[in-house]
Symmetry: C2
Subunit: 486 residues, 2 copies
């Protein structure tokens, strides 16, 4: 066995164990009995200890020092293992365990606080999470910028400065577009009870339509839609709302985008570092292009209108065009995950700025709710009415995901780039979408991006898929301005 083979053999077991850890997270949000929270926290902490020991195993340093990559994929494996090894060495084992334990119970506390509209019940936990994550970030930064160091966990190569520049370019044009569209007549809201069992049936059909392989996945309901797992076992969740079927259907298409990225990676990369999505931003580019550029396109909406009529009967929308405009309606709303394509990034920008201030200490956790509410009113023009529509709406901070939100907008930007390239390659795509068949698009995405997994760095992954064109926010802005005013 060469050092490279030894290393990959060790790594395969680590990937297998990480996969189990991910599934524990899935279980916790879908299947775990409510009374099992404290035992689960012990389990997660013990497991985190095992993974941390593997990730900091001194043999990794020796193997990495001696390993010769046989090919380009091997070089990518070594690059990713090195990143992970260097990261793991910087974080003390007891800190990693404390984080795993706290963030295991904190999610339940957040969920209860959100249900009770009780920010105060969540703050002590949030403070603890922030302190531990800040401590971790400082350890990772090793004297550099703490928040930049935290970003690397989700988007290697990104920086607060580069993301701020991107947001600065997006903000004025999105705000202007929002104001322009909102000044025009908007279609009526849906006014119908959509049977939730039928929503789930249609949502499973949509999942398959977009290429989700149910023999290597499953769809369940959870409070927060998510995708989890890699390789042969990639599970998604969705949720239903009696009055708003789009919540369920588009959450599903979104998560299917994530899942298809993981399911679509070449089999040869199974249980290796390259066998997973390269970054959250690239991941989000897949979920968003499935959800928006494909799922919310006019031709696909035409087909979906027929499916919904077949499923629910006459639900009060007169024709395909009205349905398309209803799906893409801009409305005042509090919730990021329910936001339209135009306003979505404004929700993200708010979080990006607030969490930087939280991590730097410029903003105290106790002052977060007030800061959120002030900023929200400034950006959106109306006041937050209750915490579940404000700072308690997202799970992320409760589980320590600081530095994550920006990748949602980065994903939108990347989706804009991919859509531009894909449309150039597939001039007849609309004809397929009108028949409810996004296969040409999903096959294009698989070939151009998904099957390569983590072979290239995030920006290089997008550039490779776009015939070498470097990613920028321009295609997204052009797409949005054309779609919503064209």
């Amino acid at each position: 066995m060469s050092a490279f083979d030894d290393l990959m053999s060790h790594q395969k077991e680590t990937e297998a164990l990480s996969s189990v850890m991910g599934r524990l997270g899935w279980d916790q949000e879908t299947m775990m009995p409510r009374g099992a929270a404290s035992q689960r926290a012990e389990e997660m902490a013990a497991f985190e200890g095992v993974l941390h020991a593997r990730r900091t195993d001194p043999r990794l340093g020796e193997w990495l020092g001696n390993a010769q990559a046989p090919d380009e994929a091997g070089k990518a494996q070594l690059r990713l293992i090195t990143q992970s090894f260097e990261r793991a060495q910087k974080v003390p084992a007891d800190l990693a365990q404390r984080l795993a334990k706290v963030t295991s119970t904190s999610q339940g506390i957040w969920a209860q606080a959100r249900e009770d509209e009780d920010v105060a019940a969540f703050l002590p936990t949030l403070k603890e999470v922030v302190e531990l994550k800040r401590e971790e970030g400082q350890a990772l930064a090793a004297g550099g910028n703490t928040y930049d160091a935290m970003l690397q966990d989700y988007e290697p190569g990104a920086s607060a400065a580069s993301l701020s520049a991107m947001f600065a370019a997006l903000h004025p044009r999105l705000t202007a577009l929002r104001d322009q569209v909102m000044a025009t007549d908007q279609p009526a809201d849906l006014d119908f009870d959509f049977d939730e069992g039928k929503q789930m049936k249609l949502t499973r059909k949509l999942a398959k339509t977009f290429g989700y392989d149910m023999s290597r996945g499953r769809v369940d309901k959870a409070v927060h839609p998510f995708s989890s797992g890699s390789g042969q076992d990639v599970r998604i969740t969705t949720r239903t709302s009696l009055r708003d079927p789009f919540n369920c259907l588009y959450s599903t298409i979104h998560e299917v985008g994530h899942a298809c990225y993981e399911q679509g990676i070449s089999d040869g990369y199974l249980l290796t570092p390259v066998g997973g999505g390269i970054s959250m931003g690239v991941h989000e580019s897949q979920s968003r292009i499935y959800e928006n550029q494909l799922g919310r396109s006019q031709p696909f909406c035409g087909w979906l209108y027929g499916q919904m009529r077949d499923t629910f009967g006459d639900f009060g929308v007169a024709d395909e065009d009205t349905f398309y405009r209803t799906v893409n309606k801009l409305r005042q709303g509090y919730i990021r995950t329910e936001a339209d394509e135009v306003q979505y990034n404004l929700h993200v920008l708010l979080r990006f700025d607030l969490e930087q201030a939280i991590i730097s200490g410029d903003l105290a956790v106790d002052d977060l709710e007030a800061a959120w509410n002030d900023r929200f009113e400034a950006d959106f023009g109306f006041a937050v009415d209750k915490p579940s529509n404000g700072m308690l709406q997202d799970v992320h901070w409760s589980v320590g995901l600081f530095g994550y939100f920006a990748t949602y907008s980065l994903g939108n930007v990347y989706a804009g780039c991919l859509n531009q390239a894909m449309r150039t390659d597939l001039p007849d795509l609309d004809a397929s979408l009108a028949l409810g068949d996004p296969t040409p698009a999903t096959e294009w995405l698989n070939e151009a991006l998904q099957r390569h997994g983590g072979l290239r760095d995030p920006r290089a992954t997008i550039a490779h898929a776009c015939s070498g064109v470097e990613p920028s926010e321009a295609p997204l802005l052009n797409y949005l301005e054309t779609k919503f005013t064209g």
Copy 2:
């Protein structure tokens, strides 16, 4: 920290990780996508490697050498950790990993072979499992009897000789009882379609009735009913059959007995060796006394009859007495898990003898089907019609559970002992059961047995619950003869 504290702290993490491993097993039988089998095998093998390393950690030997138990419970903890440590040291790590890997995929192969009625498709896998288990048993026996060594995994203190003596006492009286009852008029079979959704609803009600805490558990459907987990997260499965609601309802009550043992152990033992059931035989005593001595008793059947009329309407059984006799009807049948109380142990005895011959090598795996079918016809008087009614009916051998079957009969024997003691202490129990309330019995069992977990060895656990009376097969035989001919 004393050596005892260090040991218990290490052990707590091991228990937490074992708990995760158990839940992976649950997931595999209830939730896992079909296409995830080979990845899951890698995960299980990697996990088994982690657990094996912990169980053989040389520090355990040092701690055990220096640890002073603070009390009786501490002594029991040390005894159980010592047993586990000595066992783990005997089994080479690579053998443990190979076993984990093979038995992860073998279950899927068994399930498919059973579905296809294809013994040949299962034999290569079964041979591999047998060889690995024999190798493990020889390592554990260290020159002693291989099969006896294998028994210790399920029933510490048991031996093939003692179990054979017990079976020798049971066999003639059970056969005579069976022949006597079968010669009398039996009630008609059920002839009705029992809605499977309603079965699941009633089954969940029964689970709660018998004290299953749903806030620390959940009920799902699976091919094979089982109970899984300990402490705060104890999950059960059941199955439904359109024409036979008793399959679902009594499988549930049975698994609830197992689950209540785990859920009922004192909180102070959580994530310690004493915090789990002490043996499979004692476990089975709980499932069987819930299922049979309580669930199939005449007063409880009277209440259940009303519940079933409420749930399914008139299903063709005229009155409570006919219902009781239908529930307890003796019939010719192939399937162990569907067998009546009288014939059940005959199914076990067949497996006990065959698996001893397989492990010793006296019987080749290739000859198992013929041996099974010959023995079945000799014991039951009619021929096996297809493999799923014969040697492919049980999951156990596919996952390497050799030495397990006998504990089912041991559990019945123990249940007989417990029932005798319980009935002495609770002379008015039938009045409660007639109201559908087994609480006095479940509380008695919790107080006498369940809450103590693994504090005492298996036989001592039963003797303690029975006011010091040593277990024997006499109470079970007396109970059965009274019930079925009285």
